[in-house]
Structures are given as C-alpha cells and as structure tokens.
Symmetry: C2
Subunit: 399 residues, 2 copies
C-alpha cells in the first residue's frame, strides 16, 4: 500500500532550500509507492500543529520557480525537540496522515530532529524513514565536501566584493572600506572574497575567525597599504576573535572598562573596525555589511548549487524508499582534476553539534587566502542560473 511523503524546512534560509524541496517533490512523483506529498508549515512545528500543505497539486512548470525562490517556502522554524508530548503528537499526526517518508531540509540543529525522530519511530515500531537534507550557507558541516547553499552565497559575495572594489577604486584618494561577511564561527564565506581578486586588484586584506585577530597588526597593515594606495579594501568575518577567543564585537561593544560604544551594540564588526581605524589613523572609512543578501540574493545563485540542492532532495527520498533512516545526505568529491561529486549518506548523529572549520593551511599570513581555496571554490559557483523575471523583478513560487 502506498504511503505518503512529508517534507519540511528548518533553520536559517538559503537561496536553494526550496530547490531541495523541488528535488523531493519531483522524485516523489516518480514512485508508485508514494501516495501524497505533504509539506509541513514552519518545520516540525507544523507537524505538531497539524499545518499540512498538499504539494501534489502544483504543476511542474510552476514548481520550476522553486529554483529561484529564496527563503523557505514552507516556512522555517528553530525548534528543539525535547518534550514527550511533542513526540507523541508527532507520532499521532504521522499515523493520521500515513507518513512513511519524512525529509527534513535543514542545518546542524535540524539534524537533531532527524536523529531523535528516527530513533523514536523505531522504538515505537512505527515504520517511517527519516532523512536529513543538508543546507547552510556557512559550509560548516562535517562529512560533506560542501553544503547546498554555500555555492550561491559565495557567488553573491565574490561578485559583490569585486563590484565594490571597482567602485571604491575610482577616486585617487579613497577610503578604508571594511566589508563584513557572515559565517558565524568559520571563515568559509569570507574566504570567497578572495575570488574577487580574479577580476579585480583586491581585496587587500581578508580576516577569518580561524586566525586570532591581532588589532595592532591589523592597524599597521591598513596604514601601510593606505600610504601606498590611498585606499584599502578589507573583508572580515563577523565572527573574528582575539587570541583569548573573545569576539571582537563583544570585546569592544560590551567591555565597560574599555567602552567604545556605550551600553549597546549598534553594528557588527565592520562598524567596530572602521571606528577604531578612524580613531587611530584618522583616515576616511566606510563599513559595509553584506547582511541578509548573502543568503537570499537568488538572482546570482550558482547553477551547480541549485542542481546539487535538487539532487540532494531526490537522492534523500530514494534512500528513504530503500529503507534508510536517521541519515543525512552528504556530497563527496572525487580527487580528480575535473569537478565530480557523488551523493552518500552519513549517520546523522555524527553531524550534529560538530563544526567544519576553514583549513588553516589555506590562510596566508593571517590576512590572505591561498589558491588552494580558489581551486576548491570555483567549481561551486562558476555557472549562473537563467532567472525568470516579470516586470524586471525576480519571480517567486507562491503556495
């Protein structure tokens, strides 16, 4: 007898989390073992509150727009599965809707739900395969060469930085421009600013959280470059820390003894740094946060990233049909020159609460990135998608 498929989205959105949803829906339609395809609103919270959407009704052409729709079309959630009544409610709803396959598209934290539910269903003798589909722009998941979402994020970042570089270079006497890039504890996203140097003469300096940030050294480097070029472009991770492990933002925004900003934090690390540069060197500065656009500017999405996100979804469902559960899809890359990947599964409990850091051997003198990274990153972002516009505006899939 056919069982139904349920798919949900969770955690911070990316440009391709909806592409993975598309992969699941497309694959589900190929299999007679699968009856209906449901989506739950706002991840696991939509299961508990029985907010289901029948995804079977949308035609293929309309669904294609999922490839260029950022954010999470089903709605997202940050939810920790702990209470026994939540488990019981989920099981009740799964039984009611005859869910035999549950695909959960999310990051690190969402994999905890995959892990717990797969164990719980086994304990309760409920036959349902639970598979995690990875997504995060941060690229900080272990066991996978890269994460869906990363390629599109770095394509936006690299293209933004080279365009900003050209803009900030046009005056003879320029400024120190500090571009702040996301990535939490890791420098994967900020490293992508190095790709801009393939078309522009910068950035001049790049700082990742993987190296302890030395403020005096930073100021000296800025001064040197500014004296020579009269303009400096610096890219920094939001999460840079000093050698004691303290976030730079935290250090300067909250330390009452050394209070630069009063009692409240007003901006990120780019504000902090431009303020210090201005104070110490008295040269013109500008802070730029790339901010949310890094994870939602679908117009510049990477085609490879979109395609891989779709395939992660469809591969995940196929593996569920094979009876796999409690696993996450990962991308393995062959060592060959030409870019070639395979999809595999990894036990989801190995993934949760782990972080894959940017390799230190790819960081040069604390403030530059080696060509090894360029070789790693280029295949993930070297093709564009064909965007469908209406009135000059990117067209979204709407439920």
């Amino acid at each position: 007898m056919a069982k139904n498929c349920l798919v949900g989205q969770s955690g911070g959105p990316t440009c391709v989390i909806n592409a993975s949803l598309l992969g699941v829906i497309k694959e589900a339609r190929k299999h007679a073992e699968i009856g209906k395809i449901f989506g739950c609103k706002n991840g696991i919270s939509g299961v508990i509150h029985e907010q289901f959407i029948d995804l079977s009704k949308y035609d293929d052409k309309k669904l294609e727009l999922l490839k260029q729709t950022p954010s999470a079309i089903l709605g997202s959630v940050r939810f920790c599965l702990n209470k026994i009544e939540d488990y019981e409610k989920i099981l009740e709803v799964f039984k009611k809707y005859e869910i035999g396959y549950f695909l959960y598209i999310g990051g690190n934290d969402s994999m905890d739900v995959v892990n717990k539910l797969s164990i719980y269903f086994k304990e309760m003798n409920y036959n349902c395969c639970v598979i995690g589909i990875p997504k995060t722009i941060d690229n900080d998941l272990l066991f996978t060469d890269h994460t869906p979402g990363y390629g599109s994020a770095i394509r936006f970042i690299a293209n933004s930085v080279c365009q900003i570089y050209e803009d900030t270079s046009c005056y003879q006497n320029g400024r120190v421009t500090v571009v702040e890039i996301m990535g939490r504890d890791t420098g994967w996203l900020t490293a992508a600013s190095k790709l801009a140097s393939l078309v522009s003469k910068g950035p001049d300096l790049i700082y990742l959280p993987e190296c302890a940030f030395n403020l005096d050294d930073f100021i000296n480097k800025i001064e040197d470059i500014y004296q020579k070029k009269k303009k400096v472009l610096v890219c920094v991770s939001e999460g840079i820390r000093d050698d004691s492990g303290k976030f730079l933002v935290e250090k300067f925004a909250y330390n009452q003894d050394n209070d630069v900003f009063g009692h409240m934090q007003l901006g990120g690390v780019s504000s902090v740094l431009t303020h210090i540069i201005k104070e110490r060197l008295n040269i013109p500065v500008r802070a730029i946060e790339l901010n949310l656009l890094q994870r939602c500017f679908a117009i510049t999405s990477s085609k490879i990233d979109v395609d891989e996100a779709i395939r992660c979804g469809s591969y995940g469902l196929r593996q569920a049909l094979f009876g796999q559960s409690g696993k996450m899809v990962v991308i393995k890359r062959s060592k060959k020159e030409k870019y070639h990947i395979m999809y595999r599964l990894v036990d989801v409990n190995k993934i949760a609460n782990q972080t894959k850091y940017f390799p230190k051997e790819w960081i040069i003198n604390d403030s530059d990135i080696s060509s090894c990274y360029i070789s790693y990153a280029l295949p993930l972002m070297n093709q564009e998608i064909k965007v469908v516009y209406e009135n000059g505006l990117i067209k979204f899939f709407k439920l």
Copy 2:
C-alpha cells in the same frame, strides 16, 4: 582639419557611467571630423595634470564590456574649478592636444565645470564645444524625466527588497527589519522599494525625506503591524528628517543632551531606528544598509538604463559636432501610454545646484507610495542585461 575629442568622468560612480563613455567612443568613431579620442584620468584633475589615455586603441568587442563595468573606468574626482591657474592650465592642455569636443559625464556638481569651461573657452576665443552627460543614481536632476544610473539602481533595490522580504517572512515570529536606502535629500531611490510589492507582500512601510518624519507615529505603526503579523519590513531613506528639517541621524547621533550613541556616529538611520524600536517596544530588530551595492551591482543593471546611458553619450557628442556648448543632455518622456523618450539639450546653468524632489502627491499617508510611481518607474527597469561572466564572476573592462 580634424579635431580631437576628450571625455572625462566625475562625481559618484554608477553602474552605467561607463556605458555613457562607450556611447561617446562609438559615436566619435563614426565621424571623420574627429581625430583621436582621449580620456582624462580622474575627471578635470587629469586635464590639469595631463593624464590622458588614448581610447582609440580598444577594439569594439572589448569596449562592449563597458556596458557591465560599474564605477568610473577613467577614474572620478570631486573638484571645484575656481583657481585661474587651473583654467589657464586646462586651456594650455586643450590646445596642446587639439581638443575640439569635451564631453563630461557627471552629476550636479560636475555640470558646474561644464558651465564654467564653456564660458571660459568662449571668452578666450578657443573653439571647443563642452557638453555635459548626466549621471546619478539619485534621479534628482531637473529638466530630465530621469537620470542615467537611476534605472539600474532601482532594479537592484526593488529586487533586493523583495528577496529580503521573502527571507524575513519565513519564521512565524520574525523581527522588525529596517532597510536603509540611499538618495541623499530625495526619496527617488527609496520609493523603488514599493516595486517589490509587485512580487512580495511588502514592504510594510516606506519613509522618504520629502515627508517630515514623526517618530511617535512611526513607532505606533510598527507596533500595530508587529502585533498583527509578528514581522515588519520598513524601508527608509538615509536622509529622512524631522519637522524642523533636522536629519534623524544627526538628531540622535550628535545631540549631546539627548545622546543615544555617545560621541560618534556608528551607522546610518537604520541603526538609529532599530535601536529606538528595540528600546521602546522591546521586539527583535535588524538593520540592513543596502550601501554601495546600490550604485555598483552591475549584474542586475537595467537594459533600458544602459542603452539610454550609451545614447546620452552619443547624442551629446553629435550635438557638440553641431557646435552646441555649455549644455547638458536630458531625457524627455512623451505623455503616451507606451514608454517613449527623446534626447534634448538644456542650458547647463539651469541644472546646477537645483534638486528635483519626489512628488509629494505620490506619497500616501507619509509611509506608502502610490501606483503613479510604479507606472513611472517600471519602464526604467523592466529588462535585464545579458551579463558576460568568467569563472562565475562578472567580467570588467580594463584599461
């Protein structure tokens, strides 16, 4: 006898200032009366310092990249022409290089140079036609329906806002997101955030400098919307002012009696507003400055804008060949339904130091924009350019 043509770029860069340069070069190649085509580095400063680039040598195919190269490829400058020795030096250099046609691509301030030089050359009986080619993302020049640069800027802004809207909508309990948009004293750029509502359900509120900003009213509106939707997207002009005409940023960042930020300014109006919202309503907030990307993100340039920028350049040179001088090119739009424009000249002294404000009758209840603006703006940005990439990065013209 053939005379040479000189072209320069000045003021803040845009995505299409190089397209206007392309228009001048392409047109110059058609005319036997024109010998060489020179570019001066960093605007008029490159004339004074005799820094000329021979633009005749580049082939057409390479020059095509100017259509997608942001910033000012010749370098820009902010320069006030006052000293008599500067005038004399300019005349000397013009004579030496036999310049008969001078095209200056720039904004409001740059037109002052066009005005002064055209008068000076006439007084000195030096036969040289000086024509201004307009550019500014701000769209604040009089006598022209719109300015080259504006269409591309609003295409980026509208697409950014709708993508940010989707991103910020994905949680059930969201934040108040305040997006800060450029435009100095006018709201032309911020109004473009309304175009996002053609594909998304927001923004919720839009504030332009043309209406006095009432903080209490603003907070009330935010509270209302947040109570209903649990998320709010607000777009504000960097230059909003209170009813006494004081910039909001200035009021809260520098007023020592009412000192919110201590002694220094750390961010723009979005930082100020999110801080106040947080303090008064204690709800989650996020500030986003679209920042420099508004004027340099050439990947999303408007095709109409690029084409018009080229034609402004070529029209300007043709008019110089007809003997016109001391004029700026403007764009006139017919009143017909279908978008149709013509190029004309206006005396440059009418343009300088004037500002074209956003029409107050297009602002609804201080915080929304009428459909009249949508009709005005859509034809300026409803087509995309075909971007040439290399390795996934936008390709630039390089001198």
